[in-house]
């Protein structure tokens, strides 16, 4: 078949090139995004949110998420899907307020995956938790299991979905870490929006990679996770809480 021919040809080309210029080519191969290869379990995608930099009334990340995934259907507020929301915490003693976005925390041990009766809730090898809506039966067990209230159910039939973000009636959905962007080397839409708005409160990266910005920051500064008592080891971490 053509597919295998193509792969064979690619392989021959690459191996020929490697013999010519080993150093240069090996470097460029390791840097390139191999969207045609499966994701690795050595990667752990994560996010670090600096609550001191997150502005109280800013909704840049929320708007970006709505736009990116087309969460624009006109439905009553009670059934409106929420992939990311802003929460304001206030210290009762000092009155200090901190604002932070909360989305799917992409846990290492996700309760939504544990309870799913069909295997629709799953965690990719690189730590991103997703819903396989082809086999989701809409039972909403995962919504009950999630301690972060991160998942939503689509109640009404939808039209004009985004090509990269399919969603439909009768299935559960949540933040997918903009997985199609991650796979092609672009960061999640919310993080891009936070940067564009000039706040730089959110960064993302491979927590396991010692060279990544997020790894270095987590090593330097103390950060916390939401509900550490549940021992879910979320991929989303907060600084300054």
């Amino acid at each position: 078949m053509n597919v295998s021919n193509q792969n064979r040809r690619d392989f021959l080309k690459k191996s020929a090139a490697i013999t010519i210029a080993p150093g240069v080519l090996l470097y460029s191969i390791s840097q390139a995004h191999h969207t045609e290869r499966p994701v690795k379990s050595t990667t752990r995608w994560g996010m670090l949110i600096d609550t001191n930099k997150c502005i109280n009334d800013c909704t840049a990340c929320l708007d970006a998420c709505t736009e990116e995934h087309g969460l624009t259907e006109e439905v009553p507020i009670e059934i409106k899907p929420v992939w990311i929301r802003k929460v304001t915490l206030r210290d009762k003693q000092t009155g200090k307020e901190s604002s932070l976005p909360i989305m799917c925390q992409h846990c290492e041990k996700p309760p939504c995956v544990d309870v799913c009766p069909t295997g629709a809730s799953f965690k990719r090898d690189d730590g991103i938790v997703l819903v396989d809506r082809h086999i989701c039966i809409g039972c909403r067990y995962c919504m009950m299991a999630c301690p972060y209230k991160a998942r939503s159910f689509v109640h009404e039939a939808l039209e004009n979905q985004k090509p990269h973000s399919p969603r439909g009636k009768g299935t559960v959905e949540a933040c997918n870490f903009c997985v199609y962007r991650i796979d092609t080397g672009v960061g999640p839409a919310c993080i891009e929006a936070c940067e564009t708005a000039g706040h730089q409160a959110m960064i993302y990266g491979d927590i396991n990679n010692p060279d990544s910005e997020i790894h270095k920051k987590l090593k330097e500064m103390s950060s916390s996770v939401l509900r550490p008592d549940l021992k879910l080891n979320p991929g989303v971490r907060y600084q300054g809480l």
Partner: protein
Amino acid sequence: MKILKFLGKLSCGLLLAMAVNGVSAGEVPMPEIPKAKSNFSAEQSCVEPTDFMRQRHGLFLKHYRHDTMRRGMRTLQHSLVACINCHVTADESGNYPTVHQSSKHFCRSCHTYAAVNIDCFQCHTSKPQESFSVDIGPVQSD
């Protein structure tokens, strides 16, 4: 059971072949399948040989959806988005029809004829991407 399934597939394939070759099938109107926007390569019109695609596109979609969603492998050649981008063409007024609105939509034109229900488009969009350039992955050059 296997024989029955095989016969079912065979008759489906025959019907499709008849439709494509323009053989009359009684009162059922022939599907007018819109032409794709471009050829995949000089030798081949689609990502796989056309006859193969007509019969087996469903298997490709199912196989690659697993690879894409569960394993993060994003090959453009067999993605539903790339199919839609190339195959769904604008109508006379320049608008792209959705599969629900128009019987002239690429997927629907044939699926209605074959009486096979598809539910892909309850979730996936049946319109091409807005910023679509004709790029469906690595084109075979040699």
